[in-house]
């Protein structure tokens, strides 16, 4: 069997399906010619589609046959001809002819050698009766005669029955034909066993050979099955139902597994094990049916991009990587619009016009890359262009002009924060509004839509070099990681996305460190006041558990841009939960977003953190939250003390690095530092870690590493999932200090300054520095070395 193109394969499946309905329609048409408008339109559409696709795929014979059929149908549809038995017959033989050719295409990739000129003539004559057919009287009878022949031919072409097992073994030279004959005679005499079985028992062939032959036989059978028989369309709701049932089966299985211990009956143990295996496989199988490759969305992009590029007079090359990355169908649906929007954006104002590109010394043709890959239970999608990039200063100006953010806050914003502005509602940087984009709606919607399905969007951009959007989404919507907590008798699930941290409370302090502002409990978390919500009080109206010594842990949660702490009676576990919607009766309760079934079969409610925060008045109504708020937070973040690692660079200069960014502090003997390309590297925990000298990466540190000590002090931190080492002259201290960001003190690599122990220290902009020296993971020298 010739390997078929995916397109041809799809065409065959679809057409086979359509032909089935077409035949029914035709027959119905003949029975009831007056009530035919709809079925005629449907028939016409089907034949038209077949014709179009054939032309596209280069099946000229099929095309010519369908073409005349289409002519005839269009007359019927427009009411210029009325349906007669003669016409129906001709159309039915057209269907047969199409089917015959399809069968041939499926088998060999060719249309076959059948001659359809008579059918074409007949159809043409029906279209235009004035065109005399050779013998009108005969042609009246000939089509009915043609139908059976055509279909009989199809019948004759039906695949041969799969070869017998004995035959296959003989072909493989393992046994002789007479031996097979003997066995067959045995079978005829009443031996119930299979041929293979008998042969193995007689010692004529090895069991493996029989297995091989059986597999071969199966394969031939499957191939002969034909494409139309191998796929089936199923309602998604049907799959959902199956998913539900399988989920339930998994729970039942878990319960049974608990009952079965080492001292249970051996037979029961084996059966349970089988049940276990089958259930797992069944679950995976059902999950898989809902998965679709991301290509179902992407495949539309080349066209979209091409059209857009033409209308903007740009030239763009598209590259896609990881098209077969699979995602749950619901997620595919959810990301379709955001992705399209991002792509349109990239084409419209990401990539510059050819003239501009040429002037900038770039290839005239722009480049857009879509990349998808799985990583740790998530799907990552990257959309990058090599366009003009985003100018953070322009964003700053724009935000100021639009009055979205106050100037004071803008002045303090880092490059990264500025880039984040494009996700704000009402923000657009396009200088001119085009019909494609730039109306100020867009990226904020993209962000909301992606966050709604538990994903995140991130943007990085380099002016003049391009922009990359990084989207991270869960594999499936239905299952989310959650923290299970208890309040009273009930368990509640908190979605992990809202969870910031768990804080163990200081039991030595009165009320475990929870203080009171006019009856409102607050907690000092690293110098910041955290409003506290008591879950039991909020939900059940019970007396607060504060002051009973029962509180040990605060769950710090994020709702919108606000953080708050929640007191729970008990923290149980983190678990992957299956989200189920609440019934209509309970939809109006703001504190819950859904429910889930726990491992023991009981139901637990999923907390809606945003709703709960609103209910507890931790955050105001939605509209109150704006960037002003966020700015205020930034401000307080600016001035709140932070743990800083003080290091020395050069001879006298002291720099501070936020401790939260630091992974480890290491001492590395200088002799272990190796050169790889232009960088220094060191082997670190089985990885090759690039090393940078702090004095090299920050400007205006004059006295470089003239004399290096034997042991290098290295600050290790994570950059895009890899360890990177920063060599400093010495590690001085760790202090808690508020950093004031003076814009005057700002320069590349430095965020601001502070006075620590009577000495001025400067705060290193570690992410900024890293972006500069290691813009992309790919460009990490060590990786290139390994490859």
């Amino acid at each position: 069997m010739a390997e078929l193109d995916d397109i041809v394969r799809e065409f065959l499946v679809e057409t086979h399906e359509n032909l089935g309905t077409l035949e029914q329609d035709l027959v119905r048409l003949e029975e009831n010619p007056n009530d035919a408008k709809e079925s005629l339109a449907r028939i016409f559409r089907t034949v038209h589609t077949v014709k179009g696709t054939c032309g596209f795929l280069g099946f000229s014979k099929l095309e010519s046959v369908t073409h005349v059929g289409e002519n005839l149908l269009s007359l019927l549809r427009d009411g210029k001809l009325s349906v007669s038995g003669e016409i129906t017959t001709a159309l039915l033989s057209l269907v047969d002819a199409i089917r015959e050719m399809l069968t041939s295409v499926e088998a060999s990739g060719e249309e076959g050698s059948g001659d359809y000129s008579q059918l074409v003539q007949e159809l043409a004559r029906l279209v235009d009766p004035s065109r005399s057919a050779p013998k009108p009287t005969r042609s009246l009878q000939s089509p009915p005669a043609a139908v059976p022949t055509a279909s009989r031919e199809v019948g004759q072409r039906d695949p041969a029955p799969p070869p017998q097992i004995g035959e296959l073994l003989v072909q493989g030279g393992l046994i002789t034909r007479t031996e097979v004959q003997d066995v067959l005679e045995l079978q005829n005499a009443g031996d119930p066993r299979h041929v293979g079985e008998i042969l193995v028992e007689q010692g004529k062939v090895a069991p493996e050979d029989v297995v091989d032959a059986l597999n071969l036989q199966k394969k031939t059978k499957a191939q002969n099955g034909g494409l139309a028989d191998t796929t089936i369309r199923v309602e998604v709701s049907q799959l959902d139902k199956l998913m539900n049932l399988v989920g339930e089966l998994v729970l039942a299985r878990n319960q049974i597994l608990q009952f079965v211990g080492p001292d249970t009956d051996a037979a029961l143990q084996t059966t349970t094990q089988r049940l276990n295996l089958v259930t797992t496989e069944l679950q995976a199988g059902v999950m898989k049916t809902r998965m679709q490759p991301i290509d179902t969305v992407w495949s539309k992009f080349p066209r979209v991009i091409r059209d857009l590029a033409r209308s903007c007079k740009k030239r763009i090359r598209v590259e896609m990587e990881g098209r077969d990355t699979e995602l749950d169908k619901t997620i595919i649906e959810a990301i379709k619009d955001p992705l399209t929007h991002i792509v349109r954006n990239a084409v419209d104002h990401g990539i510059e016009s050819p003239e501009k590109r040429e002037a900038a010394g770039k290839p005239v043709e722009g480049y857009l890359r879509l990349k998808a890959f799985h990583e740790g239970g998530h799907v990552n999608i990257e959309i990058s262009d090599d366009g003009g990039g985003i100018d953070p200063e322009k964003l700053r100006r724009n935000a100021h002009e639009k009055g979205l953010v106050s100037a004071a806050i803008l002045a303090r914003m880092s490059e990264r924060e500025l880039l984040g502005l494009i996700f704000m509602p009402g923000f657009s940087t396009a200088e001119k509004v085009t019909n494609v984009s730039g109306r100020g709606v867009g990226m904020d919607v993209v962000k909301t839509n992606i966050e709604r399905i538990g994903g995140s969007v991130d943007i990085s951009s380099r002016l003049g070099e391009g922009t990359t959007l990084h989207i991270k989404i869960p594999l499936t919507l239905a299952i989310i990681p959650a923290l299970v907590v208890a309040s009273g008798q009930e368990r509640f699930a908190i979605p992990q996305v809202s969870l910031v941290e768990l804080v163990r409370m200081d039991l030595d302090k009165p009320d475990c460190g929870i203080e009171d502002i006019g009856g409102v409990p607050v907690y000092r978390l690293r110098g910041n006041l955290l409003p506290i919500v008591d879950l039991s009080k909020e939900l059940f109206g019970r007396k607060s558990i504060i002051g009973e010594g029962a509180v040990t842990t605060i769950v710090v949660l994020q709702a919108d841009e606000r953080q708050f702490g929640m007191l729970v009676e008990q923290i149980l576990d983190t678990e992957e939960i299956v989200v189920k919607p609440l019934a209509k009766q309970l939809k109006n309760i703001p504190a819950f977003s859904g429910a889930t079934i726990m491992g023991d079969g009981s139901v637990a409610l999923i907390l809606d953190i945003l709703g709960l925060a609103q209910k507890a008045s931790v955050i105001g109504a939605r509209r109150d939250r704006s960037l002003g708020d966020r700015g205020k937070q930034n401000q307080s973040a600016d001035e709140k003390p932070e743990s800083l690692l003080l290091v020395r660079a050069g001879e006298r200069q002291t720099l501070a690095i936020p401790l939260r960014l630091v992974a480890r502090l290491e001492e590395v003997p200088r002799t272990l530092v190796e050169r790889a390309g232009a960088s220094n590297v060191v082997q670190y925990r089985g990885q090759i870690m690039p090393l940078f000298y702090l004095s090299d990466v920050i400007s205006e540190i004059s006295d470089a590493h003239t004399e290096l000590p034997e042991m290098l002090s290295v600050v290790v931190f994570d950059h895009r999932g890899r360890s990177v080492g920063l060599v400093v002259a010495a590690i001085v201290d760790i202090v808690d200090e508020a950093i004031k960001r003076h814009s005057t003190a700002r320069r590349p690599g430095i965020l601001g300054s502070a006075v620590v122990h009577g000495q001025v220290v400067e705060l290193v902009d570690l992410p900024g520095v890293m972006e500069r020296i290691l813009p992309h993971t790919d460009s990490l020298v060590p990786q290139a070395l390994v490859a």
């Binding site: 539900n244 049932l245 939900l539 019934a583 009766q585 819950f592 429910a595 079934i597 009981s602 139901v603």
Partner: protein
Amino acid sequence: MPEENQYCTFHLGNFIFGVGVREVQEVIRYQQMTQVPLAPATVGGLINLRGQIVTAIDLRERLGMPARDPKALPMNVVVCSEDGAVSLLVDEIGDVIHVSSSQFEMVPDTLVGPARELITGVYKLEGKLLLVLDVNKTANIDPETLKVA
């Protein structure tokens, strides 16, 4: 008048109620329930019905009857309402009975309270009355009541 003349019956206190057999999905014994805080009192909790989460409505509360003895475990009559499956918590399950429309009578006007709206009619059986419950109205908890709490 309902065409249905086969009713699944159950007891609540001294009363016998019935819902059309076609509206009943299944009858199950007491299930462990998860309380829903902040929900109206008519919501008895959530039960896990083979992977489907079903809201259980406390029928006594819904009909304005005194609460059940806390030691007595209610049974579930799972009915198909317009809003999906809903479980009605009842004291005890009765039989499926046939009634003829000649036994039917409208609810007397003297009946007031929440029950008035939910009971569509009465079948006069021998020595007792069968109160017919409107499943959709019973399942539809007035959203207004959700504003409590």
